[in-house]
Amino acid sequence: MSTSLLLFLVFVAITLVITYFAARRTKTTAEFYSAGRSITGFQNGWAIAGDYMSAASFLGISGLIAFFGYDGFMYSVGWLVAYLTVLLLVAEPLRNTGKYTMADVLAFRLHNKTVRGVAAISTLAVSLFYMIAQMVGAGSLVSLLIPQFSFNTAIVLVGALMVVYVIFGGMLATTWVQIIKAVLLMTGTILLSLLVLAHFNFSIGAFFDAIANVKGTIKDAAGTVVATKDFTQPGLLYNGKWGALGLISLGVALIFGTAGLPHILVRFYTVPTAKAARTSVVWAMILIGAFYIMTTFLGFGAATLVGKANIGVHVTGAKAAAFIAEHPDDAAKLNEALTTNGYIVPAPNNNLAAPLLAGKLGGDIFLSFIAAVAFATILAVVAGLTIASSSAFAHDVWVNIVRHGQVSQGDEVQVARIAAGVIGVLAILLAIALKTLNVAFLVGLAFAVAASANVPAILLTLYWKRFNTTGTIVGMLVGLVASLVLIAMSPAVMGVDAPTVVVRHLIQAKAIFPLDNPAIVSVPLGFLAAIVAALLTSDPEAEGSFHELTVRANTGLGAEA
């Protein structure tokens, strides 16, 4: 048995024991959705860090920096600064006014079912997009790191585990899985950073000299090299006519989107008070900031010590290698092989930068440890997404819309458990169906929808007296549709791939909208639509309920305990 597999099994065993004990304390709705509000601010800070630092950030960022240098680090910056929006504007009032879901806050002022429905749809959309991206990533990654698992096995395993955590252990088990993952991830990242620094005799100067020696090229549409830059210089990822705007649009999505991610927002219901919610953001910001600063060592370390060429194409399995040698440019045959063998990843996989760096500096045992951390990372995030989306279905759609609130606590928890199972199966099937598509855009889409649909509605509900039902519904729908349509027309979804490319663009045509991330257009549209729609309609009841909302939000009076 390989070390990776062993470490992975140890992690699974520990989390299942936690789930067993959590299950005994998960009976009521408050226990299932929000761990009985028994989590401390400090614990919740670790759990938020565990919920937030996904495979996309741990492996994706390291990979982006390893492939494109400085531009990759721009993501790291945005992912921390985003928490200021959460800290200053959202966390405490949300804890004071909501109960279990994001929709609780949005539907607060008019108890309107349409508002709740739209908010639930948005929650489900954001969570599912995010989950599928994580699962497809998990499939290719885990099958490479733990060779005993094929692509499909890895996805089924990840899906089954997340469903078990949520169904049996609810929010309590999810929280502890996230805390353990955050501890593992921080440990692994600190060790890896120290190894990189040790390699340069702890001289930051020497490290940056080495980075400046790594070169990358910028090519035009025809593939001609137009510029060469070193890895400390910006521009290797975001360049050309739309480069600067692309960078700014990404920034908009990151710093506004985080405050609208339902799986992050529901974490604030797990603590007893708004003050504890504040403490949780503080701990989360300390951990998340420290982590993203260390991506400097992970990403640039991989760029200097492993090298882009060695992170590129990875094919495992003797059969797969032989097959590719025989049919180097037959995409259809490659797809077929991917389905039957499951573990061919012929496209460059920059997710492997961090694990390969670990192997290079710390040997096979350390590589195995980082591989297990990667698996833990994915599991903790998908479990958080599963509980957020099953809560939205059970609490918002089923209980409050379909059954008009006439459901016993026991039945509500039962419905949430069934929803978690259905969402899990759905995510597994979608991830397997979409495995040959480039799904990286789904993470961007999740952030764009969160920033354009959820955040305007949340902020205006909490802070603007004149805001009302029409504003919420129109704003959310416009933000949602604008994000979806613009992403569908963007280079993230549209592109013409050479016939040999296996992981393909969804739409094989030239992109209509120039930016990968639509936030710079869709976020202002979401705000504008919400404000204009609210101003065009008069809603005295919604204005009246602002008194109650603002008193609750600012004092915690009558908050769910």
Partner: protein, 116 residues
């Protein structure tokens, strides 16, 4: 349970008088103290944050100017964003202790029955 649409409106008297609390001097002072911090802090952090992608995107030559050895302005500016985030966080936490005291005043007043 305001969020549960099935709950019938509680009888007058058991529910706090939200309007009276909102109009009380202590509550107004709490909200305006919060806004006096939160609004400028938000403007500062958003402007400081976007200065980075704007400068990196539109003035790459300035940003790739090497400052210490091979470390350039772009990287130092990016690092300063982390410092900025933690400083704004620290300032907020410090100010929020005052908000907590003011919040307690409001809640004491509600408990004493002065805001019926």
């Amino acid at each position: 349970m305001a969020t549960n649409i099935s709950t019938p409106a509680p009888p007058q008297g058991s529910e706090p008088n939200w309007t009276a609390i909102e109009r009380s001097a202590d509550f107004k002072a709490l909200v305006s103290a919060k806004m006096r911090f939160i609004i400028p802090a938000t403007i500062v952090f958003v402007c400081y944050y976007f200065a980075l992608p704007i400068l990196v995107g539109y003035a790459p030559d300035l940003m790739q100017h090497k400052v210490i050895g091979s470390i350039n302005l772009a990287y130092l500016f990016a690092l300063s964003e982390f410092a900025m985030a933690w400083i704004v966080m620290g300032l907020y936490v410090r100010r929020a202790r005052d908000f907590d005291v003011q919040e307690k005043h409001v809640l004491d007043e509600v408990k004493s029955g002065a805001l019926r």
